[in-house]
Symmetry: C2
Subunit: 342 residues, 2 copies
Amino acid sequence: MTPLFMPVATQGTVKAMRPEQVMELGFRTVISNAYHLSQRPGVRTVESAGGLHNFMGWNGPIITDSGGFQILSLGADVKITVDGAKFRSHIDGGSIFLSPEISMDVQEKLGADVIMTLDECLPYPAGRDEVKRSIELNIGWAARCRKAHKSERQALFGIVQGGMYSDLRITCARELVDLDFPGYALGGFSVGEPRDMTLELAGDTVGELPGDSIRYLMGVGDPVTILEAIALGIDMFDSVLPTRIARNGSALVGVKRVNLRNSCFKDDERPLDEDCGCYTCRNFSRSYLRHLVQAKEILGFHLLTVHNLARIADLMFKARSAVELGTFEAMLNEYRQLEQSE
Amino acid sequence: MTPLFMPVATQGTVKAMRPEQVMELGFRTVISNAYHLSQRPGVRTVESAGGLHNFMGWNGPIITDSGGFQILSLGADVKITVDGAKFRSHIDGGSIFLSPEISMDVQEKLGADVIMTLDECLPYPAGRDEVKRSIELNIGWAARCRKAHKSERQALFGIVQGGMYSDLRITCARELVDLDFPGYALGGFSVGEPRDMTLELAGDTVGELPGDSIRYLMGVGDPVTILEAIALGIDMFDSVLPTRIARNGSALVGVKRVNLRNSCFKDDERPLDEDCGCYTCRNFSRSYLRHLVQAKEILGFHLLTVHNLARIADLMFKARSAVELGTFEAMLNEYRQLEQSE
């Protein structure tokens, strides 16, 4: 069922949710992070539990991201060479070396259904020469991952990088297609670039990827950006947005975010969203949710997470129906207007 | 249904739980705190939501504690006179005056089913003269609460204080009985005193309270202490213990607490408690729970709260059955031995 959105379960849990609550919202696939899990609880602990599905009690498909993005954002003293990435753990300061081969071994042991190549993900903005060097490194790492990947039970996806340079992304995409992956991720987005840039680069790259492969835009969770990307041919999304803004006290209402801390909600007895049928909207008022957020009560973070994931689930459900019925263009226009009008 | 245990919903939520999850565990009554709620979100917000039941989505009975204990533990610059308590809020530093009459008004507006008299709760240990002065104040305040209490929809319980002095507690109990309340709480416990002292004082006092009144031991949540107190004739309990230790990463296993942070649980694939049928024990391993606690994941605090509340629910269910079947003495002995043997 595509297009699909994957809630993020970085550390083996979609934050503040029971697994079956995520399922009940209509999600089947989640994405975890090999960088985080290999440091805590450690690969051996997950392996001895019979793999990640058993460990976290998730019966649907799981993807693990290799953690290239996290090495640069969380690791200390990061040194990247052709061999691999050397850095110190953000958990215990221990020295870690990650090569394409080690990443494949780690992800195979964690046992997800789809695993990702190890990639270097540059900060934004990065200069053209730096990006050029980086995609050459990434293509080499992808080839080594492809070679080291043995498990037939797991699919391996390549990750297209190339910064904000369309031609470099196209070069990278073509090289990865030559390596013949069943799916391709577009990485390095949602790092601070404007939406138009994301969409232009995704649009330029997606045409290079085979129509029968899975095309996955990493890190994009804004409702209208998701729809625009579906129009470009993207099949798969993931983002911390719905769960992270919930923990910041914000909710998706329509296609916008509202911050429950705003005093206008103090005595607002309405549900978050009159048109939403989620558990939170069926049972609680904005006033109560605001109180929970102000008091930093765990229930508040849970209830906002439920609502935000429900809104994204609903969006993806409508998008899939619209694609099937041939009404997707109309849906996209409606959401564009909604965003303008609110 | 007594004896009963009330989960604590200080700020209008049993921490980390949906209301119906608390109900499903078998609890019908929760206790909130008028001190906390009157400061945040404020009495008017709860009132305009149609009262606390509507506000927090709880369909069973609610008690509000007056917050005498919280004034001393949380308030700043506390000044207590015969008139009432003057202090500054721990939320916004604002100056607050609380008299018996104001407390009745606040609790009436919050709309709980049972409300409590305003009391002064001394720190432990307190000298005899100080305690003597304090119970005189408390008796005066209780009489004023009794007079000011108008609502027929709400029951008002008195609170017996008297520190660790049996004769002063008995004096206080007798004076309160003269005021004729439908229920009496024994307050000022779980402040650091040993269990034997709690039970001796409770035992000395409970006989002074009419057999047809509700007798409520405040703040006691340790399983064996609960059973010992039931044997003395106590009907009602509340404690933050099951929910608070959960957020510290600890679980009730048998009658003891285990801390999931302990490295012995790293690869322990067993449920928390082989004999427990709660959601947590049916679905997750100690190894996964330990990981969630180490990673400070909200799901970990939720799952431990579910388990700990399930253990207390089970204890109270067994105690009620044993009282009915006349086997309570045997149950108590079994738990005493369990505690010794583990």
